[in-house]
Amino acid sequence: MSLPIEKIDPYTWRLPKEGAMRVDGIVFASEKMMEQIREDMSLQQVRNVATLPGIVSHAFAMPDVHWGYGFPIGGVAAFDEKEGVVSPGGVGYDINCGVRLLKTGLSVEDIQSRLRELVLTLFHNIPTGVGAHHRDFRISREDQKAILKKGAAWAIEQGYGDSADLEHIEENGCITGADPSLVSERAYERGRNQLGTLGSGNHFLEIGYVDEVYDERVAEQLGIPLGTVTVIIHTGSRGLGHQTCDDHLETILKASRRYKIELPDPQLACAPLQSEEGRNYLAAMAAGANFAFANRQVITHLTRDTMQKFFQRSPKDLGIHLIYDVCHNIAKVEEHLVGGVSRRVCVHRKGATRAFPPKHPKTPALYREIGQPVLIPGDMGRYSFVLVGTQAAYEKTFGSTCHGAGRLMSRNKAKASCRGRNIEAELAEQGIFVRGASRATVSEEAPWAYKDVADVVEVVHQAGISKKVVRLKPLGVIKG
C-alpha cells in the first residue's frame, strides 16, 4: 500500500499529517523492517489514530508494530486530559498483559543439571493452559473485589510475596481509581478460577540467564550481571480483563455515536476522557489491570515456593528477587512536558512499554540513577532483553518503547511449518526444555513464527528511546 512516508533518520519515519489527521505519525523502524511493515494495514492504522480528538504530539508506532483492532499493536498515543478521548482499542483485550523479571541466586549449572525436572515441577505447580486452575485455592467474590481494588498488594497481604516487591512493579502494582462495581458479573465469573494462572497462547514462564551484557555498570545496578539466572513471567488479566474490555467496548461504541466522534474505523471507538463512559472505562480498566498485577504476584510466589522446595534452599540463599514488572497494554493519565509545558495526558500503550528515565519520581528509588527497567521478551528459542528508559523517550514518545518481537507468521502457517517436526526435541538440542500444555500452542509459538526481537530492540536502542543492558538466553519454558 502506497502511503506518503518520509525518512527522518535510519530509525525514524514520519507519516505526514493530511486529510483528517490532526498530527503526524511517527514510526520507529529500520529500512528493512519498513518493507515488512508496509505489507499490512498498520501504517494506515497509525494514520487513523492520528485523527482522534485531543491527540497530542504524534501517533507513534514502535518497531514491533503490527495490525490490531483499531489501534495497531505496538502503538502509542496520548490524548489531552480535558479535550481528548480514551479508547479500549488503544489498550487491547488483555488489559495489563505484561512482563515480570525475577533474578535468582542460582547458577546456570544448578539449573542445567536438573532442568527437565525443574520445568516439569513448575508446570505442575503453576496452572498453565486452558481451564487450568488451582484445586486448593478458592477466592470469594469479596476477595475478587479486593483484588481489583488493591492489585499486587492484596496478594502480598495474603502472604504471596513481600511488601518490598511493590516498589518494583509499575504503579507499585496498583492503578488507583479502580472501581470493581464497573466490572460485570460475566467478567467476575470468567476470572473466578484464574488468579495465579498463566493462560495460553503467547503467555509463558521462562527460566534463563544473562548471556550477554551491553552495559556492565547498569547491569550491576539492576542486580543482573553476566551469568545471573532469571525468571520471566508473561501473562495478563485473563478472562476477567478480556471480558471487561468487551463489555466496555459496547458502551464506548454507542458513546462515540452519541458524542458524534467521527471514526475512520469503528474499532477506534472512543469517548471523551471527561465523559461518564470514558471515566467508567478507565476505572474498569484499572480494575482489570490490578487483577493482572495480582496474578503475576501470585505466580511469582508459586515460583519462589516451588524453587525453594526443589533446591532445598532457604529464601535468603535462593535469593529470588523481583527486578521489575511492566505493563504493555494499558492507558494511564500521566504528566508530560509538551512543547516545554507540563500537561496531563492519557497515554495509551498497546503492545508498548513505559520507559521512564533516570531521576523520574516513578522510577523506583533503587533504579533512579539508571532509569526504569524495560523488559522485552523474545520467542522461546532465541533470547529476551532488558533495557532501561531514557530522557529521550520521555521527551519524544511519552516515555514509551517497544514490547516484544511481533508475529511474522500466522498461527496456521506456524502450525503447518511444524508438521513432521518435533519442536520440543529441536529446542532440547539447543539446551532448552519446553513443556507446553498442548502441542498446538508450542507449534503456534515456534521461534520462527516471530520476528527477531534483537532487531526490534536494536531500533529502539539506536533511536535512543531505551538503552540495551543485557540479553537473556532461555533454558526452560512452560507454556499454555
Binding site: 495490525w67 499493536i73 460475566r186 473466578r192 493462560g199 498461527r411 500452542t441
Partner: protein
C-alpha cells in the same frame, strides 16, 4: 456448500461461515467455534444446554451467540458439537446445544480465544444463502 472455514487473520484467527439460511449459518458458527478451539468431529454430544441471546441485529445475535459459547467454555469448559431446536427472530436467538465438558487430557486442543471481535462482522446474502466472517482475538 461447506459449513465454514477457519482463516488466518494476522496474529489472530477467524472463521468464514456459510449457511443456506440464517439458522443454518448460526449452527455452523457454533460448530466453527468448537473447531477453532478443538476438533469438532472429536467432540461427542453427551450433555445439553439451552442457549438464549438477545440483540438488535442479526450480527449482534451472531456475535452474542459466539460470546456466550466463549463464556461457557471459559467458565465451565463446555464445548458443543450439535445445535438444534433453533429459534431466530430479529432480536432473539435460542438453541439447544449438545456437547461435553472439555478436558485437555481427553480431547484435542488447538487455540485458546480471548474474545469475539466485531472486526469484519457482517452477514451477507450470497448466491446460495448467507455468509459471514468473524474474527477472534487470540
Amino acid at each position: 456448500m461447506r459449513p465454514f472455514e477457519i482463516i488466518d487473520h494476522t496474529a489472530d484467527i477467524g472463521v468464514v461461515l456459510y449457511g443456506k439460511n440464517l439458522p443454518e449459518l448460526f449452527v455452523h458458527a457454533g460448530q466453527a467455534f468448537t473447531d477453532v478451539i478443538s476438533e469438532l468431529k472429536k467432540i461427542p454430544a453427551t450433555l445439553k444446554k439451552r442457549i438464549s441471546v438477545k440483540g438488535e441485529t442479526h450480527e449482534e445475535l451472531l456475535a452474542g451467540f459466539l460470546k456466550e459459547l466463549l463464556y461457557l467454555f471459559d467458565t465451565e469448559q463446555l464445548l458443543f458439537a450439535k445445535f438444534t431446536d433453533i429459534r431466530l427472530s430479529d432480536t432473539l436467538f435460542e438453541c439447544e446445544a449438545e456437547g461435553i465438558e472439555w478436558d485437555q487430557e481427553k480431547y484435542p486442543f488447538k487455540t485458546a480465544l480471548k474474545a469475539v471481535t466485531h472486526h469484519m462482522l457482517k452477514i451477507e446474502k450470497v448466491k446460495d444463502g448467507y455468509r459471514a466472517t468473524v474474527i477472534f482475538d487470540v
